[in-house]
Amino acid sequence: MIVEDLVVSYGDLCAVDHASFTAAHGEVTVILGPNGAGKTSTIEVCEGFRVAHSGNVSVSGLHPVRDHAALTRKMGVMLQGGGVYPSSRVQEIVRLYVDLYDKGASADELVDRVGLRHRRGHSWKRLSGGEQQRLSLALALAAVPEVAFLDEPTAGVDVSGRQDIRGIVTDLAATGCAVVLATHELDEAERIADRIVIFHQGRVVANGTLAELRSGNDGLRFSSSPELDDRELSRHLNAKVTRDADGRYVVSADPTPSLVARLSQWLADHSLPLNDLRTSETLEAIFQRIVNSLGDGR
């Protein structure tokens, strides 16, 4: 999927501002950003539900609006908010979508796959939020898709449900499907993404693998007491030690086992705690760093 210089406007409001990125087959591409950042508008253009103000979008070589009929045979869609008849029952609605796509999927297997076997006779309106998300995912899988658009697939889902959904999404990508997943949950994105596209105020402000986004910001991160003497620690480790906005400490050096050992020993010698030790930057920290570097300007 290729998105080039995409602009989506609602009257005077520019929801998507010259966004460009790609999503490859066999990968999970996560579109990340806070609510209102332009994620859903971008996905809706790619699905063919929304007309772009300008720019080019190609999904499996097809134009989402002009070639919509052909695209529907290749894409699976999970809408934010479901889009299911409230009185339809789990097994019935999955069977309907299996028939509509007619790609050889099995309704029984899909219901089992998303863990709703025990709810197969229940109507949509009687399912919990997490179960509704699972059912929506089953409808997307009924397409046996080449491209899957999943909008906030883990919203309202409990911990075990999230693990299940992550497993299904990873398996889907392993079949060669290009999975495009929109979320504002950083932890979820970090766990599942092969590639991350960060939206902020309608613009793509970062785009790459997690390793690429971390590039140049390596170091050892940990939490400890606010009384920690960072200058003395810096001298001991022979590396720059700084305190970030969240009160965590960052040692700007290659996070080798030797460095970790010397840090641990120094903290032990000073009777200071060592918490939440990480050898890489979290996606949340990456996101904060990138957004902070932009300021409020667009």
Binding site: E47, G48, F49, R50, V51, V65, A69, T72, R73, M75, V77, L79, G81, G82, G83, V84, Y85, P86, S87, S88, E92, I93, R95, L96, Y97, D99, L100, Y101, D102, L139, A143
Partner: protein
């Protein structure tokens, strides 16, 4: 064909599960037919009340299915994102509309059979049945009301659409000579009744059921005009979700 058949079955199943829709499409017409045939409170003209009531109630039944039931269901499906979700499948708009049309026609067929059986039990004779007029009324009446129902469903928000469909239903029911004889209304309302699709349909169905021998050319033209106008307007203005920018 497989997609159309699957969608039609799904539409029928959901309708059968919806008590409000069943009350509207079957319950109310049956109650109106039985109650006003047995209780003499309406000016039904000379002859048996059932002969006057049957064509009007058939028109109400047709209107309730093609306009109100279809319109309300479609309006809520649009609000819930169901139409948008279906739009991402190979079903496509033509097959979705064809499935809804098939569902309407099947329900109308059941309505007509049930009402005809009850009418016979209440003393109506099918001897004067005019099948050509019945078919004309059925086709153009259905087209008119589907057009109006989809026009409202495709442009208004769910709750506003619900109120508009029910309000229009009540208005047409009272002003169109369906159960209240238009001859007993003031002349202005009488003229309005002949111009409304419900009034025109009731006139055609009176001829079709043998209650009158009025010419149906005029009412047929009225229904054709309503069909064309409403369907064209619905086609141009219908959006598949309240936030759809892709008509």
């Amino acid at each position: 064909m497989k997609q159309w058949r699957a969608q039609t079955v799904a539409e029928l199943r959901l309708l059968a599960r919806n008590g409000e829709q069943l009350l509207l499409t079957i319950g109310i017409p049956v109650m109106l037919l039985v109650f006003f045939s047995v209780v003499d409170v309406l000016p039904t003209g000379e002859g048996d009340a059932i002969d006057f009531l049957l064509p009007g109630v058939l028109a109400i039944a047709l209107m309730s299915t093609a306009m109100v039931s279809l319109g309300i269901a479609t309006g809520f499906e649009r609000s819930y994102g169901v139409l948008k979700r279906l739009g991402a499948t190979p079903l496509g708009r033509p097959r979705l509309i064809a499935a809804k049309l098939a569902c309407v026609v099947i329900v109308q067929f059941v309505q007509f059979i049930v009402l005809a059986i009850i009418a016979v039990l209440l003393g109506w004779s099918a001897g004067g049945l005019n099948l050509n007029a019945l078919l004309i009324g059925f086709i153009f009446g259905t087209a008119s009301f589907i057009g109006i129902g989809l026009l409202l469903a495709g442009t208004l928000r769910g709750e506003v659409n619900l109120a508009a469909q029910n309000g229009l239903y009540l208005l047409m029911l009272l002003l169109s000579g369906m159960i209240i004889n238009a001859d007993s209304m003031p002349s202005g309302l009488n003229s309005l009744a002949t111009a409304l699709p419900s009034g025109a349909l009731a006139t055609i169905l009176r001829t079709a059921t043998g209650h009158s021998s009025d010419a149906i050319a005029g009412p047929t033209m009225v229904l054709i005009a309503w069909s064309a106008g409403a369907l064209v307007l619905a086609g141009r203005s219908f959006s598949w979700s309240p936030s759809d920018s892709r008509r």
